[in-house]
């Protein structure tokens, strides 16, 4: 349709368009020329010489009424209407993005405001002021009347603008922790700035040129269009054209201003580095040793399909991303996210190929360099995208806490390990590795852990069976849940968040816990972290014991802290006995110990 040579149809239409433009501009150009009519010339051609006689005439107050006064009033009114139109339309445009009671009513009022003939609005406001005994004035009644004309246009333009606004920008801002106000201030307004300027200048000219709505509302002093209209009936010299030329020149100046600021706005709207949105975190935060001079950077790139690496390739090509600094890519693809969602592997492969090319290494080497986590399931509000995590060298050490990223990899799991203790343990140590990699010391500073975990397929299950191993589940879909669960628990173990409650009901957890103790005591760094949590745990338990005793009007023979240790030691000991020989310990032994400790 849009290719190839231009046929006769094009030239015919182009000719028509040319005539239309001539039709639009011809008369205006005619009066532009005639406004320079010589002093003896008349309202029509021929020109009797060329002069600026009529422009001089225009500024003599007696000759043509109050030109400068009405011009000033129209300008002031136009500017006021412009400001109110931009603010009220933008704000209403935001409101209309959510459903609210009365939205239809207000929408239809706006439409009504457009279609009710201007002269009726003018008449109504004039009558209203008369009935109330108020004097109409250009800055009250006429201002209101103009707003009923500029606001509907503003609102409709904002609707159109917001309908075309890519909400992913807002989602991205929110994902990065911006508040609602920051999102509007630093994302929505800069992107929409050209449109807002457009709405403003549109509002200005609508008001500046408005005639009918000013008719019964402007009161004692005329606005410019009223003044001009008055002149048409009693001025029969080219001074009329001079006036036309001057007002049109003002309109053109406004349009030129609009275009200039529009172009400028479009360039200035997107600053190279917007102020960082406030991180959503508690105090303490993401500290990293000051000796580490690195800076984490996250980019969100939209993708059109699983194989779409163009946005990333562009970012690399234009130097926005140095491929060597990429440590992870986390993304969403169009697939359904189920067992046979091959878009994930497809997307991962595409990324690997791109990175291998950029880094000039074999695709198989990428696995060790960059953690690629693709997941499917972009139904609903989420759009396919890539989050690219980079770790760049920084020239200066960071002043305060900031984002730090680390990567850890587990070994490959065999089928029977998926969803079981081995996966939990391996994941826990990978998380510990990732924390070290990021330079994060305290688990309290870990805010987000993203895991890509394996699932069971029919082939893997068969392969395990051939080795005589059993898998956690034969249901491949269910294996995804188990694998995720094991990973989540691995994270919890590494961060010291394991639920002791769960351990009481399942001996596997006690076993795991015991294993973790050993792990923690062997690894000094894990031990250090763990001991910190352990101490907090002791304090909380002691406080709990104290609270229970006070609440029950009993008193302890030992200080609360000592009671706590006795109970803890007893329960741990009992747990180990139960683990070795289930049912060997007397029931409620712990309760009896507790009774002995109190009086």
């Amino acid at each position: 349709m849009m290719h190839g040579r231009r046929g006769p149809g094009f030239w015919l239409l182009a000719g028509f368009f040319g005539l239309f433009v001539l039709f639009l501009y011809g008369p205006t150009i005619t009066i532009l020329v005639l406004s320079f009519q010589g002093p003896t010339g008349g309202l029509t051609f021929p020109m009797q010489g060329v002069s600026v006689h009529w422009f001089g005439n225009l500024f003599e107050k007696q000759m043509v009424g109050d030109f400068s006064g009405s011009f000033e009033r129209s300008m002031a009114l136009g500017v006021a209407a412009m400001l109110v139109t931009v603010i009220a339309s933008f704000s209403a445009g935001l409101a209309f993005r959510t459903r609210f009671r009365g939205s239809a009513l207000i929408f239809y009022l706006a439409i009504a405001s457009l279609i009710v003939p201007s002269v009726l609005v003018s008449l109504g406001i004039g009558l209203l002021f008369r009935v109330l005994g108020w004097d109409p004035a250009w800055y009250t009644s006429a201002f209101g009347a103009h707003l009923t004309w500029t606001l509907p246009f503003g609102l409709l333009i904002m609707f159109a603008v917001f309908n075309r606004f890519d909400r992913r920008y807002e989602e991205a801002a929110r994902d990065l922790g911006a508040t609602s106000w920051q999102t509007i201030r630093f994302v929505v307004i800069p992107i929409l700035l050209p449109s807002l300027i457009g709405v403003g200048l549109f509002g200005f000219t609508l008001s500046y040129d408005e005639f009918a709505r000013s008719l019964y509302t402007s009161g004692t002093f005329n606005t410019l269009p009223l003044e001009i209209y008055g002149m048409t009936t009693n001025v029969t010299t080219p001074v009329l054209y001079a006036l036309g030329t001057v007002t049109t020149a003002v309109s053109f100046a406004v349009i030129a201003l609009a275009l200039v600021s529009f172009t400028w706005g479009a360039h200035a709207a997107l600053p190279a580095s917007p102020p960082a949105p406030r991180q959503r975190r508690r105090q303490g935060g993401m500290s990293a040793p000051l000796s580490v001079r690195r800076r984490a950077r996250v980019l969100r790139l939209p993708t059109a399909s699983p194989q779409d690496t163009v946005p990333l390739a562009n970012a690399i090509d234009c130097g926005e991303i140095d491929p060597a600094t990429i440590i992870a890519i986390v993304g969403k693809t169009e697939g359904n996210g189920c067992v046979n969602d091959f878009t994930r592997g497809y997307a991962t492969l595409s990324l690997k190929l791109l990175l291998a090319e950029s880094l000039k290494c074999a695709p198989s080497k990428i696995d060790k360099r960059v953690a690629i986590v693709m997941s499917g399931g972009t139904e609903g509000g989420l759009s396919p995208h890539l989050l690219v995590f980079c770790r760049e060298p920084a020239t200066t050490p960071a002043a305060g806490p900031r984002l730090a990223i680390g990567v850890g990899l587990t070994r490959a799991f065999v089928a029977e390990e998926i969803g079981r203790a081995a996966q939990i343990e391996e994941t826990a140590s990978a998380v510990t590795t990732a924390m070290k990699d990021a330079g994060i010391v305290s688990p309290a500073d870990v805010h987000f852990v993203q895991i890509k975990c394996p699932l069971l397929t029919k082939e893997r299950i068969k392969e395990a069976a051939r080795r005589g191993a059993t898998v956690a589940t034969e249901d491949t879909y269910h294996s995804m849940a188990l694998s995720r669960g094991a990973s989540a628990l691995g994270v919890a173990v590494a961060l010291g968040e394991v639920l002791t409650a769960a351990m009481k009901t399942n001996d596997r957890w006690q076993l795991l816990f015991a294993e973790f103790w050993l792990h923690a005591m062997r690894d000094p760094q894990v031990r250090e972290q763990w001991v910190t949590h352990r101490r907090q745990y002791h304090e909380q338990l002691a406080a709990l014991v104290d609270e229970i005793l006070r609440g029950s009007s009993m008193s302890s023979k030992l200080p609360a802290r000592s009671s706590m240790f006795v109970l803890l030691a007893a329960s741990n000991g009992l747990a180990i006995e139960e683990l070795a020989d289930p049912g060997s310990t007397p029931p409620d032994l712990l309760g009896q110990v507790f009774a002995l400790l109190t009086k």
Partner: protein
Amino acid sequence: MKRVSAWVTYLQVAPLALVFLLFLVVPILTIVVVSFFDYNTTQIIPDFLIQNYEELLLSPVTWRTYAQTIEFAVITWVLTLLIGFTVAYFLAFHVRSATWQTVLFLVCTIPFWTSNVIRMISWIPFLGRNGLANTTLLQLGLIREPLEFLLFSDFAVVLAYVHLYTLFMVVPIFNSMMRIDRSLLEAARDAGATGWQALRFVIVPLCKPGIAIGSIFIVTIVMGDFVTVRMMSGGQSASVSLMMVNAMSLLQYPAAAANAVVLLLLVLFTVAAMMRMVDIRKEL
């Protein structure tokens, strides 16, 4: 995404709603109320009379004026639709570079940003008895005497309407056209449609919302107009609004108000009929 709480939404929409309430709803209600008032040469007297409506609707002048206004509206509508659609079609489908599209679109819209009164005045040296049109035609020998119908006539009124308001057709239709998925046109072509068939069966149906919006603008503007009629017909033609303005200048406010109510009902009825063709809110 976090839901914005309701009161924030209401606060955001409040300024707009307030303006419409104070400067649209209340004034229109005032017109309705005043249309039942009594009046004499110096003042209006609160009352409940239907006399204003009786006088208005029983007068043949009223019916003639309404007929003329509707005629102007229909003629203008047809002309602006044909011109507007063609211009929009050229811009949307034949201008290939986005920059040129923007530039040419701006060229069309710029005159709209200038004063209507001035744009009407600018026809005088063009269409007058000694104007450019007559002079040229005389010089070419196409006519022997100056054409009198060019200025201060119904022709001039329609010409001015088309000149002033075609843009209201161009913009919404252009907007609709730009939203047409270009692959639909490829599909039409692949399915063997000629250019004309693609226009008739793909583009025109998809432009209906734009056409409806443009038509609503044109019809309501022309039906509510009095400046153009007064200036361009030289006082020879009438329109409903002009009738109303004349009543106002004679201080017959209730009579003008009654006329305003009738005109408002006519306009709303026409628009309601057009709105049935399109859900405007969906089409923005």
